[in-house]
């Protein structure tokens, strides 16, 4: 791993550890008890089964961007409002406040201009822990701006997606339309000859997968990520039968020709850089 920690000092996040105290943790995927320190050393990957746990935005930046490689964070101050005045059991406003304090983020996506092995890129990352990484107006707006910025500066675009939530229901059809907004931006970028790598992490579902996440010139996935349109529980309920093992995993998608490559986290940066060098303008 060649990413640096020092470069991120001016990049202020209130980092929160997800795991409870103690030396051991249980893997969500294989159920084994694994030594936490080993998981951390392996960049949040299970040493037993190679399941890739969710990585926060800060950790992802450390993983992908060169030491001192962040040129700027773009549009850090866009925040959600509550356009529908949405009240369910919990109000949307409270969900936002809670997500902010839990993650230290202002929204589910961060966009930076930075360098990967010296190659300048626009990099967007969604955090599946902020209201399930779902796309409301802010995520849609920042992704669309990221695409437009990459187009304007003639830079390659990488978006690392992690969204179990898809289009954020608390913003109703405004969220749904972000699918059109981001996809339309990518269509223009494509026409202009831009290069876009979509990286799918666990989980990437629904409205996010059915828009910008599926539109990469190259689509990469981390191993064993849950990827698809409809959530597995809803499908099982609808068809009234059990789902085949491995359904909607990265490996399943690769087998069905829906993604281009599965890359272990430890090799992700190197392989992205290699691809960036192949497909340059």
């Amino acid at each position: 791993m060649s990413s640096g920690w020092k470069g991120l000092r001016n990049f202020v996040f209130h980092r929160k550890r997800e795991m409870p105290d103690g030396l051991w943790m249980k893997c969500d995927s294989c159920g084994n008890l694994v030594y936490k320190k080993v998981v951390e050393e392996k960049l949040q990957v299970c040493p037993e089964c190679n399941f890739h746990f969710s990585l926060g935005i800060q950790e992802r930046l450390e993983l992908l961007i060169d030491e001192n490689g962040i040129i700027e964070e773009l549009w850090p101050d866009i925040e959600s409002t509550d356009p529908l005045n949405f009240k369910a059991v919990a109000a949307y406003r409270d969900k936002i406040t809670e997500a902010k304090s839990q993650t230290g983020l202002k929204e589910a996506v961060v966009v930076v201009r930075g360098k990967i092995e010296g190659i300048e890129v626009i990099l967007g990352i969604t955090d599946s822990r902020f209201i399930m990484g779902s796309m409301g107006s802010v995520v849609g707006e920042k992704i669309a701006r990221a695409v437009e910025k990459a187009m304007e500066l003639k830079l390659p675009l990488i978006i690392v997606s992690g969204s179990g939530g898809g289009a954020r229901m608390y913003e109703g059809s405004l969220s749904l339309m972000q699918m059109a907004k981001t996809s339309a931006a990518l269509a223009r970028f494509d026409k202009a000859g831009g290069f876009y790598i979509s990286v799918l992490t666990n989980p990437t579902m629904a409205g996010v997968m059915a828009s910008f996440a599926a539109l990469g010139d190259i689509i990469i996935a981390e191993p064993k990520a849950l990827i698809g349109f409809t959530g597995p529980r809803v499908i099982a309920q609808t068809i009234g039968q059990e789902l085949p093992p491995g359904f909607q995993t990265s490996e399943f998608l690769l087998e069905h020709g829906l993604i281009d490559r599965i890359i272990d986290r430890q090799h992700l940066k190197g392989e992205l850089a290699l691809l960036l060098r192949y497909f340059k303008r």
Partner: protein, 327 residues
């Protein structure tokens, strides 16, 4: 016996009055008595009742209307508003998905490409059309026909009535998410005018997949939503019987969508809903389409594509640097 209310309790008083009018009419014919005064009075009462009831429907009641089993199937719209429809099948890859139909047609003599989801009317049709839920091959078929239309300059008319893209194993295996994304992506750049109308249910990404264009309209009692009210209730209330609450919270009615700037126009339905008068509904829709075609044909293609981009680009509400912005 079939429940003629179809679970729509709010319609019961209207249906009862209508039944009574029908009874009186047949009685007066058989018995040769003049009940015209009587019938006229009842008709006026029924009209007033319909107006009253339909003015005050809850969002959930609108959802039920959008799903009404007697709501005009898309084939009726095609027969009433279009001529010379030639259905073209073929996704050139896997199989024909009958949940979607596509092909060229004429509207007031003007050649267009028609794309529609269909639910069917009889049980047999409903099964064959998978209750209006397309698989990836359906979207692939639609996209191919839209690209064909763009090649020959035929404007695209998309009529949407779907609970959503089908959630199933095969659909996932064949890339449901991918084809929805691809369809949206392509539609944003197709170099012909595109008019999309939600005529019943507008279920999430599965509706948007054939719903990107220069004009986006909705019939008065149709709905368009990021998630079904039941799905939303199951997730947020942990109880799908809270669907009426979810329907309210989601702001999915035609009126809400107009206020949010999601739809360009609400196409009026006859009082009492589209299912009471297919012809007027189809005519209203036709007039809207003709109006849009006339407008859109005036716009140079590059400008049209730019305006289409901006139409979607500006949707969203947020604050930036603590300033309210709605770009």
């Amino acid at each position: 016996m079939e429940d003629t209310n179809h679970g729509l309790d709010f319609e019961a008083p209207i249906t009862a009055l209508e039944r009574k009018i029908a009874e009186l009419e047949s009685f007066s014919a058989i018995a040769e008595v003049d009940l015209s005064e009587e019938i006229k009075k009842l008709r006026t009462r029924a009209e007033r009742l319909k107006t009253e009831i339909y003015k005050n429907l809850s969002p959930w009641q609108r959802v039920l209307l959008a799903r009404h089993p007697l709501r005009p199937p898309v084939q009726y719209f095609i027969n009433l508003a279009f001529t010379d429809f030639v259905e073209l099948y073929g996704d050139r890859c896997f199989r024909d998905d009958r949940a979607i139909l596509s092909g060229p047609a004429k509207i007031d003599g003007q050649e267009v490409m028609l794309i529609a989801t269909r639910k069917g009317k009889t049980t047999r049709e409903r099964l064959a059309y998978n209750f209006g839920s397309p698989h990836p091959e359906g979207y692939r078929k639609a996209l191919l026909k839209m690209q064909l239309a763009a090649k020959f300059g035929l404007p695209i008319i998309s009529l949407i009535n779907t609970p959503g893209a089908y959630p199933g194993i095969g659909a996932e295996e064949r890339g449901q998410a991918h084809i929805i994304a691809k369809s949206i992506f392509e539609m944003s750049q197709l170099r012909v005018p595109i008019i999309c109308i939600v005529v019943g249910e507008g279920g999430s990404g599965g509706a948007l997949a054939i719903g990107v264009g220069d004009r986006f309209a909705i019939l008065e009692n149709a709905y368009f939503s990021v998630i079904s009210p039941e799905g939303c209730a199951a997730i947020l209330w942990k109880n799908s019987s809270k669907a009426p609450d979810a329907a309210k919270a989601l702001k999915l009615t035609s009126k809400d969508l107009k206020e949010l700037g999601i739809v360009d126009e609400v196409i009026p339905e006859p009082v009492g809903g589209a299912h009471r008068d297919y012809k007027t509904t189809a005519e209203n829709m036709k007039q809207y389409i003709l109006k849009c075609l006339a407008e859109l044909r005036q716009i140079p293609m590059d400008t049209l594509i730019q305006q289409r981009y901006e139409k979607y680009r500006k949707i969203g509400k947020f604050v930036e640097n603590n300033n309210p912005a709605s770009k």
